[in-house]
Every structure is written in C-alpha cells, then in structure tokens.
C-alpha cells in the first residue's frame, strides 16, 4: 500500500534554533498515529508543516502523492485540522462559524448546513447552533472546533490535544469517533500529552524528542523493545533522564528548612 503521508528528512529551524532534525515518517491510510514527545520536541512544528502553515522547511513531504510545497492548496483541502488552542471567532454562532469554514473548503452551502446540524446535534449542541460562542464553555468550543475539522470529510485528520476541556462523556464520543473514522479509511494524526489515551487509540506511536524520531511502532512493539510497561513509563524512560526520579524527592525535601 502507498503511504498517504510521506515525510523524508524533514528539517526546520527558527533562526539559530534547529527544531526538526531529519524526521522520516511513512503513514498509511486508516492508521491512527499517536504523535508524542516532550514540550518543545517539535510536535507542533511538524503539525504546522503538515497543515501547510509553514513552508520554509527542508526535506520532502508528500501527502496522497502530492508534494506539499507545490500543491499546498490541494493538500489543505484533504486535511482537517483541529488546533490545540480553542481559537474561534467567538462572537459568531456555531452555524455562522461553521458555514464560513465550509465556504473556505468550497463545500456546497446546503450540504454544509445539513452536516453542521447533524454533527452539532450528535454533540448535543443542537440548541446552541444559533447562539454566540463567547458564552460557550471550553468543551463546547472544542466540539465546534472538532466539527470544523471534520466538516469537509477530509482524508487526513490532525488533532492537537482534542480532548482538552471535554467532559468524560465527550471524551468517550471522541475516542469512539477516532476509531470509527480510522475504520472508514481516514488517517488520524493524534498529538497529545495524555499517554493513556494515546496508548489506547493509536495504531502506531511516534515519539519524537529534540527534533528526532526516537521510537516508532505499535504500542506492542514499543513494549517489546522497552519492557512490558505503560506508555507513560516508556515515554519517561526514553525522554527523561536519571534525575527524573530524584525530582520528586528534591521537591519534597525543599520543605526541610
């Protein structure tokens, strides 16, 4: 099978700071990729490159056979992006915001409106469709954002901490949704710091640190390599250092004066 996302030797720097140092990835359709790494590892930068937000990278990225640098627009239209921060034009209503999104994705307005109503209803927001979002809770905003990322039925869905602010029930919905979408052949690129969720939803886990991929495989494969332990432990073992265990001790002992 052809990979849907191919990343070859991806480098990116902000001035003198090298953020990505030669990332290689091949991602196949229908996979859920858990993309994890410590703060500042280069996760968001990778995501921004895949979304076409950053174009001055070195290396080769192709999505569905298209060169990201050359066919940026075509690539953007098959990607659904749910950003990490709940950034919305919150003076709009969900309907206004989402039809706006649909228009930018060149969706037919009638189809879009139908989808919006269906999706918002599925999220339990059917009564809020025509309310301004400035009064919405974080979870409601997140639901609108997720809807905006799925609206145009993209082949690739990039989720950046999609569960933040959601209540337990919504978390179940999203997790279920992720696996259903993957079964339908969608590729899901899931960035998160919540190791337990990543462990459960991902078919493959890619761990980056300091701009380099340091682990890449299914959870079971990682367990074989790193010992039979939780992803959290594996993560800590690969990215932390010896002082990690001592940190808690040091913190506690700070009271001893």
């Amino acid at each position: 099978m052809e990979p849907i996302i191919t990343v070859k030797n991806l480098w990116k720097n902000y001035g003198s700071k090298q953020v990505l140092k030669g990332i290689d990835l091949s991602i196949y359709p229908g996979q859920v990729i858990g993309y994890i790494g410590p703060n500042g590892a280069g996760k968001s930068t990778t995501v921004k490159i895949l979304c076409g937000l950053i174009s001055d990278y070195e290396g080769y990225v192709s999505i569905k056979g298209m060169d990201l640098k050359k066919d940026t627009l075509a690539v953007k239209s098959i990607i659904g992006y749910v950003p990490e921060l709940a950034e919305l034009y919150d003076v709009l209503t969900p309907m206004e915001f989402l039809t706006f999104m649909a228009e930018l994705y060149n969706l037919d307005t009638v189809i879009a409106e139908e989808r919006i109503i269906k999706m918002m209803t599925a999220f339990g927001l059917e009564n809020n469709i025509h309310q301004r979002m400035d009064t919405f809770s974080k979870g409601m905003r997140q639901k609108v954002l997720i809807t905006s990322g799925l609206l145009h039925n993209p082949d690739i869905i990039i989720l950046d901490e999609p569960l933040s602010g959601l209540d337990a029930n919504s978390v179940i919905i999203i997790k279920e949704l992720i696996s259903r979408l993957a079964r339908d052949g969608k590729t899901i690129f899931y960035c998160s710091h919540m190791m337990d969720v990543v462990e459960k939803v991902s078919d493959r886990i890619v761990l980056i640190d300091n701009g380099v991929v340091i682990a890449n495989g299914s959870f079971e494969e990682l367990q074989q390599q790193q010992g039979n332990q939780s992803l959290e432990k594996i993560f800590a073992g690969l990215t932390g250092n010896d002082s990690m265990n001592n940190a808690a001790d040091a913190l506690r002992s700070a009271f001893e004066n």
């Binding site: 930068t45 979304c51 953007k76 239209s77 950034e87 709009l92 706006f100 994705y105 060149n106």
Partner: protein, 585 residues
Amino acid sequence: MFKSLFGSKENRPSKPRRNIINRFFLNAVLLPSSLYKRMGVNVSHLKSILHTKLLMDDRRPNTIQQTRAKKDGNITGATLGTMLISALMGAFFLVSFFAGKDYVTHLTIYFSMYIFLLASSLISDFTSVLIDIRDNYIILPKPVTDRTVVTARLLHIIIHVSKIVLPMSLPGIIYMAFKTNPWGSIVFMIMLIFSSLLTIFIINALYIFILRVTTPQKFQSIISYFQIFFAVFLYGSYQIVPRMIDRANLEGYSITGNKWAWSAPPYWFATAWQGLSKFDFEAANIAAIALSIVFPLASIYVVIKYFAPSFNQKLSLINSSNAEQESVPVKGKRMGSTTPAYVKMMAEWFSKKGAERMAFLFCWKMTSRSKDFKLKVYPAIGYMIVILVLPFFTKRNFNLDRIKDADAAPFIFIGFIYFSSFLVMQAIAQMSYSEKFKAAWIYFITPVKAPGQIISGALKAAMAKFYIPIVILVSTAAIILAGPELLPNLLLGLFNEVLICSLITYITVKELPFSMQQSNNAKSGSFIKGLFMLIIPAMVALLHFLIYKFTPVVYIFIVLSAVATWLTLGSINNIGWNKILSKAD
C-alpha cells in the same frame, strides 16, 4: 488616542442599519471581481471572509453599548458619535483653506493632514484588524490562497477606513462644492480616494518593513511604541502648530514652484486637482495627475502581488513560533533576581512588610512589563511634556527669565506639581485592568487578610513610579530657578497631591490590581477621563494659590494634609473583602 477620537472599529450602527451599511460596502468592494480573479484571488473565499469579518466587527460591543445595553436594547448613538467626531476632524481640516494664497497650497496642506490623520488611525487599528492571531488557526489551514487572504485583509481595511473617511472628508467636499464648482468637488473626491489608497500602502509597507527588519516576536511591541509616539506627536502638533503659525505671513504663501514640494505626495494630489478641475494640462499638472493615480494603484498592486506571501508567513509566526521557543528556557543559566536594588529600597521605605510590599513590587514590575498598561499610560507622559512645553510657544514673553520672576514662579511651579499628577492618575485608573486578568486568582487563594493592603501597595507603587520622579524634577528646577523659599509650598503641593490620589483610590478603586478585563475600547475615554480627574487637583491648586504667601499657614496645611493622607492610607489598608468587586472566577 486615535481610538478615542474615532471610537474604535467596533463602533458600528446597530443591527438593521449596519447590515445595510455592511452589505453596501461588501458589494461595493466586490465590484471589481474579475480583476481580483485575474490577480489569482478566489472571489467566493474573498466574499465569505469579508462577510464574516464584517459580521464580527458588528458584534464587538463597545463601552457605551456595554453599559447601556443593560438598561435598554440596541444603541446607535455610538456610531453617530464616532462619525460626528470624524466629521468634526474633517471640519478642522478646513483650516488649511485659510493658509496660503492658492488652491494648490490649500490642498497640499489639506491632503497632508488627511493622510497623516488616516495613517495614524490606521496604525492603531491595524493591530486589531490585521493581526487577528486567530486567523492563523482558522483561515490559514484552509485551502485559501495567500493572495486571497491578503486581498480580504486589504478590502476589510478599506471598508473600515471608509467608515472613518466618509464622514471625515464630507466637510471638505461640501466646502469645495461651494467654493469651486461641482466638478471641482468631484475631482477632489477622486483625489481623496487615491490619497486614501496611498495611505493604506504606506502603512502596509511600514508593517512589512518592520516585519522584515525585526523578529515577529518584537513586532507588536514596536507597533505599540509607534502608537504611543504617534498619539503624542499628533497631540503635540495639533496643540503647537496652530500657535506657531503667523497668519499674516501665511496667507501670502504659495507652495507652487517649490521644487521640493514634488517629494511630498500631498502636493501631487493638490496639483492634480488643479490640473483636472481647471482643465489645465500643462506638463507639471499632467505629471502630478499621473503620479497621484498611477502611484497608489501600482503600490497596492505591488503589496498584493509581491509582499503578500512572505507577509503572511511572517505574520503567522507572530504568535506561533515564539510560544514554542519560549517554552524551552536556556538551560544551565542561573538567573539572579530581576528586582533592581533601588526598587527594593523604595518598597522598604514606602510599604509595610507583607501583602503591601508584595503588591508594591508586583505593581512596579507589571507596570514596566505589561504592554497593555504601557500602551494606555505612557502616552500621558508625552501629553504632559507637550502641555509643559506649550506655554513657550503660546506667549512670546513666556521664557526662562519670566520663570525666574518672583511673582510668576510660585504659580508656575506649584501649578506643575499639581498638574503633573495627570500621569499618576492615569496609572491608577489603568492599574485595575489587565489582559491576563484571570491570573488574579492569586489574590483569592492566598490568605490575604485585607485586600486593602494590596490596593495600598499598588497605589504607593504608582505614586513612587509615576509621581515622585516628576516632583523631584520640578522641585529641583524650582529651587534652582526660584530659590529655596518655595520649598514649603512644593511640599504642601506634594502632600495634597498624595492625599488627592489616595482619596480617589479609596473612593473609586474597587478592584484589585490587574484583576479586571478591559473591554476593547474602554480605553477610548481614558484621556478625557484623565483630564476630567485633573479638575480636583486644579481646584486644590487654586485654594493653594490663595495661601501660598503665608508661610506659617502653609506649614499648618502641610501638617493637616499629611495627617489626612496618613488616615486615608490607613483606611485604604483596611478595605475589606466585602468592598472588592473583582471576583475569583
């Protein structure tokens, strides 16, 4: 200050009417659709972006609406007020028709004022219109071309500008229609359009230039300082220039024939008007017509075609990359305390240990570092300088010799002592507000017995930072120029001023420092409010002038004032939680 003059961009008419206005503007700017298409712009994207942006502009409530909306329904007065002020500014431009002896001179001055004022208001509005960071997450990941986004921004700005420009140019157009003829007025309007385009280009180029030479991270603070500088410059020039103008000389002046004038675009527009309205097509006029039409159009085209792509790239970095970069602090570098020794010293002198001193240091640092605060308070420094310098331009006989004059000196210096409280009052009024108002939870989870201690610390920090230095400066000047006899009076002024500020704080401040969200344009009135607050010191100053010659009385008042100050500060310290309006949510 421009926001305050025009209201901000949020000032739009209420729903039914504004939709007509917006629809009109939307249709108007979309007229040259085929041209946009040829430039590589996706017109349906363009339309939906513009539609959404205008819709959002409508929804942003302004101060007047916020406060009044609770009482009654929708309000239209704000827009009318804004437009009225724009129109008043436009009427002010008519001054130019009294300078110089021919229309080219009049109009050169008119267009200079027009372009300058428009540019200034654009600089402050651009940060809110152009740099909506949310666009990075919402619009840029969508399959929209850069050129479409930039065109949408430009058109949005044009609409926004039109809402200012139309009322502003109206007085000039009417004047021209009466003074010349309908054709002259039409040509004048055309020239106004092109000069507006040119102004937009200048601002765009300026932004692009700033983005090129600095990091995006510094961009917004540079723009802030620019705004401060512009506000002060503008205020200063409106105050000083009319006083400097010698009318007799001016009326005979003509700019025509001055070779240097060709370097100033307003001159092109003026000369082009001359040529077009009088059908006088001599070489110079034709050159001016060509310049004033071709140059704005070409420059706008260049912005869209060549600057746009890299501009967007850079713009998307303003927020995004620095977040990531800053999350990795320099490792292995132990940082020392960032509190300068003199600040610590002052904190120890002025504030009691505990919550009050904490608040003193906290507010001292916040007022130095918060961009938001600086933007709103620092222009006051500029206004003050302008007002202090002003007398030297107004009266020919007002100079250093006169200051040394025994009769005038006390008035001037005592007046300065009172007047310079303008800055600290602005600071106190602004201190409750912050963009990061939510961080105020720190006050509520810590065992602070009386929030008054925090308010008192904040007040003292404001006094120490924004008033004491000026007082020292003024007193030094007074002692050097007028002699030490003035010292008791200066002292009384200082105590009275501290008392006034304390009383105002005690009465008006019901919020903890940096704990309130400031609605987008609540700041608009702050300058006026600040002037209004000066009435109190002015009245006290008047009373002071009545007694300043009787030194024993002055001493008695010093004691009284000091005691009253001490009591007020004590009361502030005891303000309890029940009086605090900010909430812990």
